[in-house]
Symmetry: C2
Subunit: 217 residues, 2 copies
Amino acid sequence: MSVLTVERKVLEKNDSIAAVNRELLKSHHIFSINLVSSPGSGKTSIVEKTIEFCRDRIKMAVVEGDIQTDLDAKRVDVLGIPVVQIVTHGACHLEAALVSESIKQLPLSSVELMIIENVGNLVCPSGYDLGEDKKVVIVSTTEGDDKPLKYPAMFRNASVVIINKIDLAPYLNSSIAELEKNALSINPDLKVFKTSCTTGEGIEYWCKWLESNITRK
Amino acid sequence: MSVLTVERKVLEKNDSIAAVNRELLKSHHIFSINLVSSPGSGKTSIVEKTIEFCRDRIKMAVVEGDIQTDLDAKRVDVLGIPVVQIVTHGACHLEAALVSESIKQLPLSSVELMIIENVGNLVCPSGYDLGEDKKVVIVSTTEGDDKPLKYPAMFRNASVVIINKIDLAPYLNSSIAELEKNALSINPDLKVFKTSCTTGEGIEYWCKWLESNITRK
């Protein structure tokens, strides 16, 4: 019981810092997304493709969350986009306080879209608000079509699902249609995109949706 | 700081229950493995293939851990192997106490191999000993070859790594050799298997290793 009490206090504290982050981003008219998924579903590849497609249309900044290494931040840095790496040293999710420190290091007055890439974990980040406008869950076709049923909290708390690696679907036993159906059975309000970072398919529609949400600077 | 103290107490309590589980399994001459991976890396498929290949040679029982649903236990149950489903209702890893309750429901006196399939999470289960003989981490080729570097704790604490979905390697940018190299750079003692549950490739070697570890009943 004591563990549950501590956990509740941690979440309450996190939520109050997230509210401050949300106000700060709002005051700068920044649209922000929190990308969550299992390890290897393609979060960083989606970030790369989004930068490639949108860099001439949207002013972006990125916060990278990882347990170890700055490999992901390096992948963004070479593309010339402002990026801050958070290394959690073992912690299984980002918290609002870490994001608060990070976003202050970015040129907020000229940013239109803030992309926060969470730690790869389909479970723990679901309960931690970072102050973002939308939580976006990525699930790849190779993970099997039952994942929304088995990890419902993340799909319930997200506004958008990106079904990624659709180029691999012909080689799999799982079905994209079934994956989409299962995601919508958990959360009928989910906006669904289907993408491949290898072929580029579907990236255009995802980026147009991002563009429709930003405020021009 | 209070959170860290509570966490340490939780882990100490878990370790003492895990020691009891280990003694119980040992007293029954049962070889036990704890299968860990990201969601969708193929834990349940590996369990199915192991049953298919070994059912005439090894007496098995299975403990399935899931956050929601008993889909995995049903997949094992149809194969006629004794199985217990643990539903964690949101918790991101199995703990020794849950496994303790479950294994008591299985016919231990006639079991040679106990397979515990953990919740799909490449982070949190790494710190929780369940009382198993060996922790086996599964990583699929589709997750990218950098995963051991980004989630080192799980690879450091495991004895075996199964590189799964090798049939998809021709369609990916990632490299099996690089994935193996990265896993061994984190933990040079890892025993490596390469498998495909679609083609059956490599399952034989994995099953022969299991067989070499069991005590005949």
